[in-house]
Every structure is written in structure tokens, then in C-alpha cells.
Amino acid sequence: MRVELQEIRKIFGDVRANDGIDLTFEPGKIYGLLGENGAGKSTLMKILSGYQPPTSGQILLDGQPISFSAPDDALNAGIGMLYQSPLDFPPLQVIENHLLAYDNRLILKLEDGSEELKAYARRFGFEIDPERYVDTLTLGERQQMELLRLLALGAELLILDEPTTGISAEQKEVLFSTMRRLAHDENKTIVLVSHKLEEVQELCDQVAVLRQGKLIGTQDIPCPTSILVRMMFGEEIPRSEQPAFEEGPVVLQINDACIHTYRLAVEHIEFEVHEGEVIGFAGLEGSGQGLLLRACAGLIPLRSGEILLDGKPVKGKRSPVFWLPYLAYAVFIVRLIWLLVELILGRIRGVQLAGGIVVALLLSGAIWLVGTIIESWTSVAPYHEFYAQGGAFVPAGRLDEGLVAGLSLTEHMILAAPEHSFMVNWNAAREEIQKRINQVNVVGRPESDVAELSGGNQQRAMIALLNAPLRLIMLEHPTRGLDVTSANHIWGLFQQRRREGTAFMFISADLDELLERSDRIAVFSGGRLIQIVRASDTSVEELGYMIGGEQV
């Protein structure tokens, strides 16, 4: 199927998201759609997949003009889109997700459908269990599941919106080889929307570059990366210089730390982080690097060993009345024994025993309730101590953990501010957040609800909310979803903090970022710290080997 976009325009208010774009997609080829955040890639693909209509312009399928009023129109015409966060149903089973709106037969064919789905998955090299619930799958597996559904429904042109964000390197390999097979053996058209140059270079046959809503041009691949960079940004971006790191005093010291969860055991971790040092954590997702970061922040307890921030353990403070809930148990047991003794001695009857037990339950329940409340008010959580000592943790889940959906940036500022007074000083908070918004280039106003910001801007907002000065900043995927210029800008801000002595630890799935930004890289595999290497002494290939569990 040959798809042509002619003069596509999409105008939101006075923003020209797409400005007269002409593109042709031929069958059997893999296309890249490249551009920085906000260049209009997603808008264009939403138009092509029927999610929103263009302001003007038309789409031709094999020369025939067509217009879509809803995404299923586009899918019926053979255009399927895989969204960055798949539009599936996390609480349902895989097979239910597959069959939902699949056909119009009244009775679901759950068993036959499962067999078909399994066979279909095997054909594309995916491993999928139809019985599992979607919310227990990884992002990569959910992608595979959606992909199979689109293919089963007869998609001829597949659009993948930033498909490699958040999936493991292995899943990326499987995805890419499937894409190649679909295009080159089954004559389908693939459009990869991305802002990552390496990915486009690796997979695509041709690339189209958008900038500020306009099509800058198309380019056959392979070609020198510098050409693509110039098309994307209008200029070549110099690689930012990494200032030399001089070993200062120790900020964080990890002594023989072990963390056990029922999924993974992280064993015997031992290293030090110095003032102004950047340590990158490499490894497949779930190899233990995330657990270690959380343990350093005091969010999960250590099994053994200790973690010292500026020489003090991150442990929190136990309440001086921690024994109150235990008192409740004791009261109940003592009363129970007493009652039983009285029963045996014949001083009370069975009915009085039953009543006595109920009364004892109520009494000890009340003590327990009051006790736990007092205990929680008088204890200090380990994370709060970490925070008070100048630590900060920026998690990957932007709206799950990092930000509070429904609150504005100003309100976040009030929550994040180091000093709290009883009355909120709104003006001061608004001024402060405005200053930080400008500094970090968040596209949003102080009163914007964080849930309405784009993913990249939520990322920037979390970084804007970091106070100064800090001793240690820990980040999970700090530049995920950001384009090269934004990432450079954020790392530029971090460099400033480094000069002030702040140490950094960060997780990234992007090996280039790890090599470029870290002083040392800690490589994790299956819960073990394989090795800590100097970033200047290693390469992408070596890191790849080590992530696979091999010592170099």
C-alpha cells in the first residue's frame, strides 16, 4: 500500500504544528520520522492514524483520497499506530485485550483465540502468554502485544511512536528484527518516529526530518550523522565538554550492602562516591541498579551492610514509643489468659468469656490504633532523613512517583521548598518557580497542572524542583524523552552543580549518555555489581559485554 500525505496542515490556536507537509511512504520500506521535541512528528502521525483530522490537506491510499473520522477507520484502511504508551487495557488479560473490538461475533472465542495468538506471536519471534494480565507485562511486552493485534487486524502501514523508550536492549533487538522482516519480507511499510539518531541510522531505509512543523527534507540511509543533525537542529551541536573531575571528600559510602526483594537479591555492593563525581549505572532494566538507588535514598531497607551519607547512616529515626502497638498485643494476650483462667476456675461462664474477648479486642484495638498513629507521627522515615541531609532522588515514574497529578507547578514548589511556614507565601513560591522554569526551559506556566505538561516537560519540571545546594542527586533516566539540545541543557545545569560539589548517581539505558556524562560507570547484571570502570577507559562495545554479565 502506497500512502501519500499532501499539504498536511494542523493549526492549534496560533501554533502551526504541521505546516504543509508532503510525504510518500512506499511499501516494503522502513521510514524514519526525525525531529526534536515539539517538531510536529506526533501530530502528523496522529493525523495519519485517524486520531485527529488535519486542518487542511489530504491523505491518499494507493492514489485514492481518504479521510478518517476515528482511529478504527484508519486501521480498517490498513494504517495501525503503536502509541508510545500503548493504548491497551492494563487490568484485562492479554487475550481479552487482543479480542476487544477484534470482530463482531457475540460470543468470545477465548480458547481458539489464545491458540491463534500464540501461533501468531511465534511467527514474529515474540513470546506471549494469553492468560497473563496486561499490567504484569513489561512495556516491551505490551508493545509486542499491541503490534500483534494491529498486524492481525490487517495493518499494512505501521507507525511506531518512540518505541524504544523504556524497553530493554534485548526487546529492542527483537523489535527491530521483526520490523525488518515485516518490511523486507512481507512488504509492509514501517514508520519509526524518533528523536534518536542512532536508532534511525540502525533501522531505517529513508528518513524525513521535521523542524518546527515543517518538512526540512528526506535523506536516504545510511548517511553521515552530521547531515541529520544539521537537518534537525539547523546547525551542528558541539559535544559538551566534560570538566575533569578531581577526587574530593567522600559524599556517599556504601559498605557491603545487600538488598533482598522477592524478585531479586542484590548482594555485597561496595563503593564510594566523591564530591562532584558523576556515577552512571548501566545494566538491563531490573538488574539491581534501581534497587540500589532506592536503598541509597532510604526508600527500601537494606538486608545487611550500611549506606553512609556524609558519614551518617541513612536509617531514619525510630519513634521513642515504637513499643505502643506491641503493648496492644500484650494487653490482649494477658486479658485472654486471665479470662481463660477464670473460666477454668469456674468464676465466669462461656457467654461472659465471649463478651470478655470482644471487649478485650476492642480495648487492645483502640490502643493499637492510637499507638500506630503516635508512632508514625514521632518517627522519621529514612527518606526524609536522606532529604534533610541534602539528598535528592528523581524517579523515572514522572506522574507515579515524581510529581503529583492535579497540582500546579507553584504548588509543587511550595511542597519542595526546604523551609515550610504555616501560611503559604504564594507570591514568593510563584516567583521562585518562574525563575526555575526559565532556568530549565520548562514549557509551562507556574499555574499549569503538571499532568497537562508533555512528558519531556514533566521531566524538566522534576529537575527544576531540585533545591540547591545539594550533596547528592540520584536520577533514573534523567533525559528519557528529551531531545539532544534539551538533554545538553540539563546536563549543563548539572555541571554547574558539580562544581559546587554535588555528587551524581544516575541510571540510563542509553550507553552513549553513560559514557559521555559519567566519571565512572557501575555495571550491574542479575543483581551483581560486575565492575566499576572509568568512563574514559571503556567503550559502548565493552559496556555491552559487561551488561551481558562478562568481565572485561
Binding site: 476515528a70 482511529p71 487495557f89 487490568p91 476487544l100 473490538a101 470482530d103 468470545l108 457467654v351 463478651g355
Partner: protein, 337 residues
């Protein structure tokens, strides 16, 4: 208590639970589609009142015309009640979908308002004897020992209730439209992307669930309790809402929940007469404590950790059986642009 007494008591519990079962099933259907109808307490009252008044009036008219028999008055009464329940439910859906108002807020206001309206409009009709659904044992099945008297020695409405619970389960988990309905309740934007008219589906199932709630209300004035009186069914709506949660938004578990509720209630009465010296409040709160305990147990992380030790083959079904989660989009409006 001998065997026949026990069976008779269980049969009574089942009969008494049936109207509640109907309301729970109706609300489960509505909530699965993503709309929360919190007005149950009020809409059941007004449906009970409306259904009774219509049945009573028509019965009087027919008797004056010399026609005997309960069929037409009852049909008219239940239809009116279903219509009232449906309209109230649609009001909530409309307020949420078109007026973009909070479903919980509308539901609360309607509960209070409708209860008062029902009292006001029905004050002339309290404690009047009206038509009643006729007892109808199923010929051969009711002869079966134990099971017969428990399940097949009731009236038509109760048999219909059992059927509706079964159909609701089958519809939700075994048919394409039912799957689409669940999809709409879980993630409307995904359902929209697959070509489903989210709000159309929501109107449909809200209306259907509301109709069942209405019939359930009328069952209290025309079936298990004779005649209309405002304090007949005060509070039942809240109980139904609680049992929907207890049943984990599944029809069969919800139905079992209503029977469990009936059993604990009967037990409380029994205990109360056995131990008159213990305060009544304690026994009355027994059923709630029991439910709270079960919910806490099912939702606890301890249980989930226990599942990890179960044989691999059993883990999936066990986890599935213990999954209790509200539809993710419950109570939220869907805006398609």
C-alpha cells in the same frame, strides 16, 4: 435446630437476599461501564414507592371493573419502577457526560433528594395492603431434597434474579459486547481508539443497571415486604453499594456476597435471642466487621506473598481469584475531542 428447620431458614435467607442481589447486579453492571451510581438508596426508595402506587392504583381500577388477578398491576408496577431507576441513573450519566459534573456529587445529592421526594409523594400510601408477587414453586425441581426448597420454592421474581446474575456474568466475561463494556470502564481512551462509542456504551449500561436497581426497589414493596413504607428499605442502597465492592465488581461474587450478608444478619438475630445480655449493636455490626476482615485479608500483601509459594500451575488462577480492583476509569468522565 434440625435439618428441615435449617433448610427452611436458608431458603428464607435466599428469598430475602434476592432483591438486594438484583440491586448489586445492577450497580455492578453500571460501575463496570465506568459510571458510579451513588443514588441507590434514594432511587430504590422512589422506585419502591412509584412501583407500589402504580400497582395499587391499577389493582383498584381492575377490581372495580370486576377483573381479578395480580398480573397486570404487578407488571405495571415493576415496569414503572424499572423506568424510574433507569431515569435516575441516566440523570447521573448525563450530568457526568454532558454537564461534566462529578458523578459522586450528583449521586449523593440525588440520594438525599429522592428519599425525601419518595416520603412526600408516598405519604398517603403507607402501610396499605397491595398486590403481591405470587408464590410459584417449580413443579419437579422443588421436590429435590434440600436444594429444592432452597432454590426452587420461591416466586418468579426470585428465579429471574438468579437468571439475571448468570446472564450478567456470561455477558461480561464471555461476550464481545461485555468485553467492550469492561474496556470502556477500564480505559476509555483505548476503547475510543478501537472505534467504540464510549459514552453511548456508558449510557446503555447505566440505564440497564438503573432499571435493575429500580426493579429491586419495587421488590421490597411488592414482593418480600408487603406494601410501601419509607423505613422499609432505608439504608439498603448503601448496603448494596458496599456489597458491589465486596464482590470485587463481579456479578456472581456480588450475589454470593448478598447471601453471606443475609446469613450473618440471620445469625446476628439468632445470637441476639441466645445472648440477650450482650448489647444489640455488637451483633448488628458483626456482618460489617466480617466483610471488613475479608476485604483486608484479600487485599493484604501477605496473601500475595503466599501465592508466590503456591505451585506454579495454581498461581495464576489464585491471583485471578483474589484480584479485587475497581474499574480504573470508574467515576471519571471521558472527553473525546
Amino acid at each position: 435446630m434440625n435439618d428441615t428447620q435449617l433448610v427452611r431458614m436458608l431458603a428464607l435467607i435466599i428469598a430475602q437476599s434476592a432483591p438486594l442481589m438484583l440491586a448489586v447486579t445492577g450497580e455492578t453492571i453500571t460501575e463496570r461501564g465506568g459510571v458510579i451510581n451513588l443514588s441507590l438508596d434514594g432511587s430504590m426508595l422512589i422506585a419502591a414507592m412509584g412501583g407500589f402506587v402504580v400497582a395499587y392504583k391499577i389493582d383498584l381500577l381492575l377490581q372495580a371493573a370486576g377483573i381479578s388477578g395480580n398480573f397486570f398491576p404487578l407488571m405495571a408496577g415493576f415496569s414503572t419502577a424499572a423506568l424510574i431507576g433507569m431515569l435516575v441513573a441516566l440523570l447521573i450519566a448525563w450530568g457526568s457526560i454532558r454537564l461534566k459534573q462529578d458523578q459522586v456529587a450528583i449521586g449523593f445529592v440525588l440520594t438525599l433528594l429522592l428519599a425525601d421526594v419518595a416520603n412526600f409523594l408516598g405519604q398517603d400510601y403507607t402501610r396499605l395492603p397491595g398486590p403481591r408477587v405470587k408464590h410459584l414453586p417449580i413443579p419437579l425441581l422443588s421436590e429435590i431434597p434440600i436444594l429444592g426448597p432452597m432454590f426452587f420454592n420461591h416466586d418468579l421474581l426470585i428465579y429471574l434474579t438468579f437468571a439475571i446474575v448468570g446472564i450478567a456474568w456470561f455477558w461480561m466475561f464471555r461476550t464481545q459486547p461485555g468485553l467492550r463494556m469492561r474496556g470502556v470502564g477500564e480505559r476509555p481512551e483505548s476503547a475510543f481508539a478501537r472505534g467504540i462509542g464510549v459514552n453511548r456504551v456508558r449510557y446503555l449500561y447505566t440505564a440497564l443497571g438503573g432499571a435493575l436497581v429500580g426493579i429491586s426497589g419495587a421488590a421490597y414493596s411488592l414482593d418480600i415486604k408487603l406494601g410501601w413504607s419509607d423505613n422499609h428499605i432505608l439504608g439498603i442502597g448503601w448496603i448494596a453499594l458496599a456489597i458491589v465492592i465486596f464482590g470485587g465488581w463481579r456479578p456472581i461474587r456480588g450475589a454470593l456476597g448478598t447471601i453471606l450478608y443475609g446469613i450473618t444478619k440471620a445469625l446476628a438475630q439468632k445470637l441476639q435471642t441466645t445472648f440477650p445480655q450482650v448489647p444489640v449493636v455488637l451483633f448488628n455490626s458483626l456482618q460489617w466487621l466480617l466483610m471488613l476482615g475479608v476485604l483486608l485479608l484479600v487485599g493484604s500483601s501477605g496473601i500475595r506473598r503466599l501465592i508466590d509459594y503456591a505451585p506454579a500451575r495454581l498461581q495464576q488462577p489464585l491471583a485471578q481469584a483474589l484480584r479485587v480492583a475497581p474499574p480504573q476509569a470508574l467515576g471519571t468522565a471521558f472527553v473525546d475531542d
